[in-house]
């Protein structure tokens, strides 16, 4: 690879903003061919090393030559990782969680938080994922949606057999644990408090440190 091209490597993966309309995508493709931000800039902003950023971007650009990741791509990727079930709903929630301010912020930033951030930041992100309408509260309905999306990924052929109430029961368990003041919603403070007191969760959060 030429040095120059290596220089311009980055993970500026912009989501095709708002609409996943494929027609619009085609029109926008010529303009939305992404130039990545400088490597140094990203290095400063994220917690990845230069080498890791290179590897990330290279692998990503190979897969997605146009540099655009929209929701469809997301769903596609996850369905390849989890072929037994239907990963599209969860991919949808994930996509919304990455794109926090909905104006095409970097995926790499999100990845940097998730894979290299402090536990606090990770929990923040998880809360953001669960809070679908981003109002600062996780309601039972939102949690149920998320739970169903997770169980959808398992598919049908599970053991023990997946039943209709399993997600709901799981949500009940979750709320019993998290909702301290029993007001039917989980706020971010309750969430973080509870997670920090739970050993399993804290340990699990440390799991994914490496990039590849």
């Amino acid at each position: 690879m030429e040095a120059k091209r290596v220089e311009t490597v980055s993970g500026r993966v912009d989501a095709a903003v708002s609409s996943p309309d494929s027609v619009e995508d085609e029109l926008e493709l010529s303009t939305v061919r992404h130039r990545p931000e400088g490597l140094q800039q990203l290095e400063a902003q994220t917690r990845f090393s230069r080498k890791e950023l290179q590897i990330l971007y290279r692998g990503f650009k190979n897969e997605c030559p146009s540099g655009v990741v929209n929701e469809e791509t997301f769903k596609d990727i996850y369905s390849q990782f989890f072929p037994q079930g239907d990963a599209s709903t969860y991919a949808h929630f994930l996509f919304n969680a990455f794109d926090t301010d909905h104006n095409g912020s970097d995926f790499v930033m999100g990845l940097s938080i998730l894979l290299r951030g402090t536990v606090q930041e990770k929990l923040n992100w998880a809360f953001n994922l669960y809070d679908i309408n981003k109002d600062g509260y996780i309601t039972k309905e939102e949690m149920l949606d998320i739970m169903k999306a997770i169980y959808d990924m398992m598919g049908k052929c599970t053991y023990p057999v997946l039943r209709e109430e399993t997600p709901r029961q799981h949500v009940e368990v979750f709320f019993q644990k998290m909702d301290k003041n029993k007001d039917g919603v989980v706020t971010i403070d309750e969430f973080i408090d509870c997670c920090q007191n739970d050993e399993n969760i804290m340990r699990s959060m440390q799991l994914f440190e490496s990039v590849l």
């Binding site: 072929p83 598919g155 590849l212």
Partner: protein, 633 residues
């Protein structure tokens, strides 16, 4: 799974973070990573054309030549590169396969050269991407057919094996006259006699000169009545014998009797026998004469001898609707014009247009531009409408004919294409199926081997457990770990589809049997039946609680099959030995604790069921019963 998806692994792992707060059990530890050396560029020299790529790219497919140590055989020390004495143009596609995970087939290339290169580099052609796969298959099939034709024409005179029964030999002889000399003789003899019979029928009616006591000329049939009768008898005897022989040899007599050719045969010989039976009664001889007309059907027996006739017949049958349309439009036009002509010619004296049906004849003759002239309009209005009639006749007849022709060609090509597509669809579905099941099965195999071994993939590989077949092992291990995390989060596991169905049925039977001893919680039969319901008709199930909801997961992907998953329990190991033995001993019990507790949580039942379930399970010794028991828990 495309190895390129490995690039998305960070995203998938990020997704896993979303499951953490939800899970109630600790996540499995991630696999250790090998210390990876710096990624090196590899130089490939293919007959002078140089290609360069990362070593990792090549090692994505470790069971091909380039991805394994086999390439070391081609290492050239002096130039520090790998030299291959092969076609560089085709190599380009092969290298692209490593880069993108998709193998394309170049249309300009010869199929056998391409196949050779693929086999040299250890790549199976089934990986060819969907965009090029149809083309590849077509070319391959053509090639093979060509080879087969060559072989067949050599083998054509080989005698067939003598293991066919006499009856089958006869049938083959009848259907395919080229198989033996006897069949050929028979074929020609019957053809000759058909021709003779038809000729006799024709010549019978030719006037043959005067006989003594007659005024007019008599037809030859009457003059040489005896000769013709003998000829007819001989022909009919031959035809009868042939028909009976065919009937005897036919593999399915009923089908044979129903077939068109046999009907023609019967119709051809019936008049003779009926004539024999009937006496010279004047009343019936009129009817008898009509019957003799059917003798002309003997000419249709020629269709056995001519493939072209058969094809024509099939064409007419398949274009029946268009022919019907032609007829219908013609009839409409005839009626319209006949009516008009009748009323136009009503006034004139001595007109032949005495009624509308009489005018039909004029209309038909005019529209088909025959114009016999036996009926002509005399009034001016009649002539005007007559000319309009003849002009429109040309149009009305000329229009549907191309429709029929194009229909025929469309139907013909369509059937060709449909057959091709059907054959290819099966193979492509099978391919997708295989890839998905391979991915899923690899995961389950990993689970057991991974749990036993201390996250050291080398060791498990040496132990003979094939982790993956075709894909990047590092990546696969990571992916399996993710799937494992998902299982832990949801407290459910992936199982084999067949076992899943079997366990559904077993449980349903068990439940129905032990319904009396039942179950305060409505959830167990509920859930189990509801899982099976999409698979069977619901009417056959009488579930105690009928308020079950359909469909666990709406997206039943028929292509996702997953391999065996056994749930080892302490008191069931012995009976499990018949199954995949390596799984049983390898799983340490303490790691199963979360599963056990999970089972209790997710499927609550009364203790009363448990002993009942145990009993029923212990009585049956299949491994599936163990699944039954556990799920009944």
């Amino acid at each position: 799974m495309a190895a390129g998806v490995a690039a998305w692994l960070p995203f998938a792992r990020a997704a896993a973070i979303g499951w953490m707060p939800v899970a109630s059990a600790p996540m499995p530890l991630p696999p250790q990573e090998k210390r990876r050396g710096k990624d090196a560029l590899i130089m490939l020299n293919v007959s002078g054309t140089k290609f360069q790529t990362w070593r990792d790219t090549l090692e994505r497919y470790p069971d091909t030549l380039l991805g394994s140590t086999e390439r070391d055989f081609f290492f050239h020390e002096e130039t520090n590169e790998y030299f291959f004495d092969r076609d560089p143009d085709i190599f380009r596609h092969i290298l692209n396969f490593y880069r993108t995970g998709k193998l394309h087939f170049p249309r300009m290339e010869c199929i056998s050269a391409f196949d050779e290169e693929l086999s040299f580099f250890g790549i199976i052609p089934e990986i060819i991407g969907d965009c090029c796969y149809e083309d590849y298959k077509d070319r391959r099939r053509e090639n093979q057919e060509r080879i087969q034709d060559d072989e067949e024409s050599e083998q054509n005179n080989d005698l067939v094996a003598a293991d066919l029964s006499f009856r089958e030999t006869m049938w083959r002889a009848f259907e395919n006259p080229h198989t033996s000399t006897m069949a050929l003789v028979f074929y020609y003899v019957t053809g000759f006699f058909i021709a003779v019979s038809v000729m006799a029928n024709v010549v019978e009616t030719v006037p043959c000169g005067l006989m003594q006591n007659r005024v007019r000329e008599v037809p030859c049939g009457e003059r040489y009545a005896l000769a013709f009768f003998c000829l007819d008898t001989a022909c009919v005897m031959i035809f009868t014998v042939e028909y009976l022989l065919r009937l005897f040899a036919a593999p399915s007599r009923f089908k044979f009797v129903k077939s068109v050719m046999s009907v023609i045969d019967v119709v051809a010989i019936m008049p003779y026998y009926i004539g024999l039976v009937m006496t010279d009664n004047e009343d019936v001889s009129g009817a008898f004469v009509t019957l003799r007309v059917f003798r002309v059907f003997r000419i249709f027996k020629f269709s056995r001898h001519s493939a072209g006739l058969r094809i024509l017949g099939y064409t007419l049958k398949s274009c029946a609707s268009e022919l019907g349309f032609l007829l219908f439009s013609l009839t409409m036009a005839i009626i319209i014009f006949a009516t008009v002509m009748f009323y136009a010619e009503k006034g004139s004296s001595g007109s032949k247009f005495t009624s509308i049906p009489a005018a039909f004849w004029y209309t038909i003759v005019t529209m088909t531009t025959l114009g016999y002239g036996d009926m002509v309009p005399k009034t001016i209005m009649g002539k005007i409408f007559g000319s309009i009639c003849s002009l429109s006749g040309v149009l009305v007849i000329a229009l549907p004919v191309p429709v029929i022709v194009s229909n025929f060609s469309r139907i013909y090509h369509q059937s060709q294409r449909a057959e091709k597509r059907r054959a290819q669809k099966k193979t492509s579905l099978a391919r997708i199926h295989a890839v998905k099941s391979r991915g899923a099965s690899a995961f389950l195999q990993y689970k057991h081997s991974g749990l036993r071994v201390d996250q050291d993939e080398e060791e498990s590989k040496e132990a003979g457990q094939a982790l993956v077949c075709n894909n990047n092992p590092t990546f696969e291990v990571q992916r399996h770990h993710l799937l494992h995390c998902l299982e832990t989060t949801t407290n459910h596991e992936f199982v084999d589809e067949k076992l899943f169905e079997a366990s559904c049925k077993e449980v349903a039977l068990v439940k129905q049997a032990s319904r009396s001893s039942s179950i305060s919680s409505s959830s167990s039969p509920h859930g189990l039946s509801s899982c099976c319901a999409p698979r069977r008709k619901r009417k056959t199930f009488s579930v105690p609680n009928s308020n079950m909801s359909v469909g666990l997961q709406g997206s039943i992907q028929e292509l996702s099959t997953i391999q065996i998953r056994e749930r080892p329990l302490t008191n069931s190991r012995s009976s499990r030995s018949s199954l995949n033995a390596k799984f049983v001993e390898t799983v340490p019990l303490n790691s199963e604790q979360p599963y056990l507790t999970a089972a209790v949580i997710s499927v609550p039942t009364t203790p009363g069921t448990t002993p009942g379930g145990d009993d029923s399970a212990s009585s049956t010794d299949y491994s599936q019963a163990n699944i039954v028991r556990v799920s009944a828990l």
